[in-house]
Symmetry: C2
Subunit: 417 residues, 2 copies
């Protein structure tokens, strides 16, 4: 080790990359590889022409601030446009309770830095989003997992885990949850449990960080809008920090998301963001603002719900045809992901090598678990690939999985394949 | 204090905002206020039409990745375009030694997180950039200042400071320097001292973080290109982490900067960036890439040097005419800033109230000093305001300063005013 490397901080020395991002790198530049790995939106759904028109208008030079540094808090007209949208979701807030961030990942990171000292406990779902795990770990958090049931978090386990951490003298800073179309399970937290979590937060004085990138993407055939009501909507006492993003609806490039939290929290997140990146892109925030005020986002949402519901069907049917005897999954009611559980003893990380040889990739389950379990699970994103590529990819994956399980080909081929 | 506020981390509870950003907020929405506070480039220099043409081409939808998530490391063609430009500056590196960041502020933050544990020492110039100070403090660094002389850092003081910190048992992680047109002094570090710093780094095994946002903006009348040669250009052994930005040359909105460092450092910065914001904007990085390959940046640079040299002249002449007897300054040889020292006993923070009433603002000196000094200094950015606004603003400021010092109006009015 060089003296330069010996200079790393404790966290710096421990940094390990995201499994999902690494899959993205593997996928780059292999045209025939079918990637179900990253949670990328379908680029064919992007409103290209609308963004082109908007950019053309913005870059005429009429407003010199368009290319300048902006306020750290974010572009004020965008905040003003977001507030009534939040209200329509049931979240009553003022513009002082909103901060725009460089994607939701930055929001997770800033919230973590604001609350977590090394050794503090963050409670997470088992499994949960790897990007959040990475941000929590980089602040030195102790991560403790809470099991999930069919309708979301196991509240008895939550109580038990909290009690055990407190009995050990540790400070529990917040519970991180993704109630809508959870990453990676695709599950949805029941309304009864959402209300119970608010009571739990008040009783236990533990904050809830509610990450909601997929809430707008409910599938009309199986989900009602009211089932996606944010926990934050019923939070009268500032117990919930709510995160929402445009990356899954408009486009990831704009890196535009927002945090809704009490003003005292927002004011400090603002300061934390100053040292993180000074401000987000003025142009990108203006494009998102125009996409909202010109109705682009509202026109996109029904299209996106139909598109991703259809892709879920394609993937789910292909899996049913080829893997019903060797894999379990619950078709998701929204979002981007289908979570597959293989028989005990299969290690989906080890299986990736064969999958890559078969030109298909997924994200192995274990990185989503903070308790070392999940080896036999995997996450499939049906969001980005076309229907025909989804069918082809599941065919490839089925071959890999069946070979690993020692199963022969399924006896009844699916019509049309 | 609510239980939510009692949950803040130690760093979170200490967060204090940037003096510069607060000045920006003060300035917002007051059309007649003349701001010399933030280091904003002149928006009339932005290549609006070129960006409009580039955006129009990029948003035709020919490359679906344009609006998608990108690699954390950055848009590969932009990295490939940056490497030969670095080589032209004397910095020989491969693309594996470059990481693109969301502005240089993110680079400072990521480097800090990679190296600094709470209590570790970071050495900085007296005075230095407040945004860097904020990032260092948010990682719990102990900041120790090194005096500057007319040709930059006082090397004897550097040795003394290092020895004292080590004698106290502290780990010194890096020296942060801005060799070209330093923020806030506008000074330039001599070539002899640059070489001496490299020797110092090798001898003492302390890294150098070289922040160079202004290096391209040397003023042809008083500075030669070779005087801006980066320290990194002569670093054969990976002792220097070099930061460069497009915010002061193309435009701040693109939030596009880069770090040059040994591959082992870049690999970990990549992981740290994953949890900070996943990736920077794909569209913004493509606009910057096109601005480079289409020659926009190279056409801009001579124009920018002339523009900012002329503005320096305007401000310097106005100060000479109105404040020569009550203020000291050295006209800078590049960059955006003019650093003014008032008589001892004047507190420029207290003076800001009168300045705001007179509709002119600057940044007080003290926040740039980590040792509690600098109360009688102030930083003026001549970059953003027009020539006539600079003259008007210095007139207003002169009135405020002269009143505070107790001096009457200068006896010889400047011709033309």
């Amino acid at each position: 080790m060089t003296w330069q490397e010996a200079s790393f901080s404790r966290m710096g020395a421990q940094l390990t990359g995201s499994a999902i991002r690494q899959m993205g790198i593997l996928a780059a530049g292999r045209p025939d590889l079918i990637s179900f790995a990253p949670g990328y939106p379908d680029p064919s759904t992007f409103a290209w022409q609308a963004y082109r028109d908007i950019a053309d208008d913005l870059l005429r030079g009429g407003h010199e601030d368009t290319l300048q540094y902006g306020q750290t808090r974010g572009y004020a007209p965008l905040i003003e446009a977001v507030v009534p949208r939040l209200r329509a979701q049931g979240i009553t807030c003022t513009s002082d309770e909103v901060l725009l961030t460089t994607g939701s990942q930055q929001a997770v990171d800033l919230v973590t830095r604001l609350f977590v000292d090394p050794g503090d406990v963050v409670l997470v779902e088992l499994p949960t989003f790897t990007g959040a795990i990475a941000a929590f770990r980089s602040s030195g958090a102790r991560l403790v997992g809470v099991r999930q049931e069919a309708d979301g978090l196991d509240l008895a386990h939550l109580d038990a885990v909290l009690a055990a951490e407190r009995a050990a003298g540790r400070r529990v800073k917040f519970l991180y949850v993704i109630p809508n179309f959870q990453n990676p399970t695709g599950g949805i937290l029941s309304l009864a449990k959402r209300r119970a979590l608010l009571d739990w937060s008040a009783r236990e004085q533990v904050l809830i960080v509610e990450d909601d990138p997929y809430g707008d993407l409910w599938f009309p055939d199986v989900t009602r809008l009211d089932e996606t009501r944010p926990i934050k909507a019923d939070d009268a006492d500032g117990r919930v920090i709510y995160l929402q993003s445009t990356s899954k609806t408009l486009a990831p490039t704009f890196r535009t998301a927002w945090v809704v939290a009490p003003t005292a929290v927002i004011a400090r997140l603002d300061v934390a963001k100053q040292s993180a990146d000074l401000c987000s892109s003025s142009l990108d925030q203006r494009i998102v603002h125009q996409a909202i005020v010109r109705g682009v986002l509202d026109r996109q949402l029904p299209l996106l719900r139909e598109t991703y519901a259809r892709k879920r069907d394609v993937m789910s049917r292909a899996l049913s045809a080829q893997c019903a005897d060797v894999a379990h999954w619950t078709p998701p009611r929204g979002g981007f992901f289908l979570w597959v559980v293989l028989p005990e003893g299969i290690d989906t990380r080890a299986l990736l090598r064969a999958a890559i040889e078969a030109q298909v990739i997924y994200v192995a389950g274990a990185p989503f678990y903070v308790d070392g379990t999940g080896a036999n699970a995997l996450r499939l994103a049906f969001s980005a690939a076309s229907a025909s590529r989804i069918e082809e990819g599941i065919g490839r994956l089925a071959g890999v999985v069946r070979a690993a399980v020692g199963a022969s080909a399924p006896s009844v081929p699916q019509a049309g394949r």
